[in-house]
Symmetry: C2
Subunit: 234 residues, 2 copies
DNA sequence: TATGTGACTTGAACGTGTTCAAAACTTTGC
DNA sequence: GCAAAGTTTTGAACACGTTCAAGTCACATA
């Protein structure tokens, strides 16, 4: 795996330069989207030479990754209060999903480009890559919290895999949202409403002892799939 | 939507040049993968000027799309014989899925790049885009054939949406395969085996009258999702 | 046969992400 | 205080996808 060039920051001044480049980049991403945010534009506004940006960030993709992380943190923060007080699983999941789209909303066009980069198996932004492992883990933990903090009674085996399943589900919703050109992304919200309803029902059905065989094979499949993910790119 | 520059071919000579560029491009894609297949390399080997390639193909992506179409045709052809003789739904789906991976296998690395391009909502290669509509339709038809040509008895409402569901499923498998670095893609094949088994079971469960409520809401969700897809980018 | 029209072809030029050798600066060891 | 080693910074240069004004060609029409 590629070592991040982040290790090359040894000085206080270096830290500052790095921060300045990053901040400028995020600003331009917001202002001008993906197109206007050329490495030259970022370097110029940050007051450094073009090459200097590459000293601190391997590539433009690494710079974009920082943006991604920021959005994720914002989503986490916006979910926290509700997860404190709400007990119903369906309501929890619904809130988390809606909050996610709301967080992402201002960057719809940008997210398309981001997703394009993330889709490359060799990109550090790829959600399945080793470099994304911390972010992925954090994201799955959020869904673990959604399930574990609810009042729903769920079989242990399902409880173990459900967070990962929901994480995959949320990736699917993001995928849909990226393609959703309806006004205010009404379709995505509708899809969330409907799919959360179904997931809630499915969890109930799957928790039924009569379904234990099918459930077990589905869970086993998921477990294997998950294991694969962490082994990919090794 | 962008009009294909294909309309600019009016002469026999033009047709030949176009074909030569395309053939050369496919050759280089195969030989050197995505990296080596620069527009300059393609133009040079095809014996035309760089700009000429752009006269016949809007962009490199359009050139790659031709490659994509070729792979799809190959997959179709390799499935046809089995779909003639086999009646069991599980066996049919399994065969189609395995054949797909086998067709794609020689281009694993290339497929990663292709997927990256296809992930951009604004790319003509995007599987949900208008420009991809014919290819998508064809692909969904394949799954319709898988279901309809089988001996399985399936409720009408499910029958209507199942092809699209299976198409989505197959996209998921491709996504996994792209990330699968196991030798001979053993994991992908295992995933296919397991997931086809589960899908088969799920279809049986969903066909049970007791499940009609859950089934109906899931189907309605799918129908809506599908409708959205065709409206995207309009 | 001349010539004009439209199809095709050319290659220089642009802006992009990225690399790299060299310069400038900062810290360390004495 | 100074040389050496380490760290940061620079900007020219590269290869790429893409554009475009200008050129060449084939053929229908006068």
């Amino acid at each position: 795996m590629t070592k991040g060039r982040t290790g090359l920051v040894k000085t206080d001044k270096g830290q500052q330069t790095r921060a300045a480049i990053l901040k400028t980049a995020l600003d331009i991403f917001r202002e001008q989207g993906y197109e206007g945010a050329t490495m030259r534009a970022i370097a110029e506004r940050a007051g450094v030479a073009l090459g200097n940006a590459y000293y601190y960030f391997h590539s433009k993709e690494h710079l974009i990754q920082a943006f991604y992380v920021e959005l994720h943190d914002e989503h986490l923060a916006s979910c926290a209060p509700l997860l404190e007080r709400e007990g119903d699983l369906k309501a929890r999941l619904l809130a988390v999903m809606r909050a996610m789209i709301k967080t992402l909303e201002p960057y719809h066009q940008f997210a398309g480009k981001l997703f394009k980069i993330a889709a490359d198996p060799h990109s550090p932004l790829n959600p399945f890559s080793d470099e994304s492992d911390p972010a992925r883990r954090q994201s799955i933990d959020l869904f673990r919290e959604v399930v574990a903090g609810s009042s729903a009674r769920i079989p242990k085996d399902l409880m173990l895999e459900l967070p990962y399943m929901l994480w995959l589900y949320h990736m699917g919703i993001v995928l849909f949202w990226i393609h959703d050109s309806s006004s205010r992304h009404a379709r995505t919200y509708r899809l969330i409403d409907r799919s959360v309803e179904i997931i809630d029902k499915l969890i109930r059905v799957a928790s039924n002892p009569l379904m234990s065989r099918l459930r077990k094979s589905a869970i086993r499949l998921m477990a294997e799939l998950r294991e694969d993910v962490s082994l990919v790119e090794s």
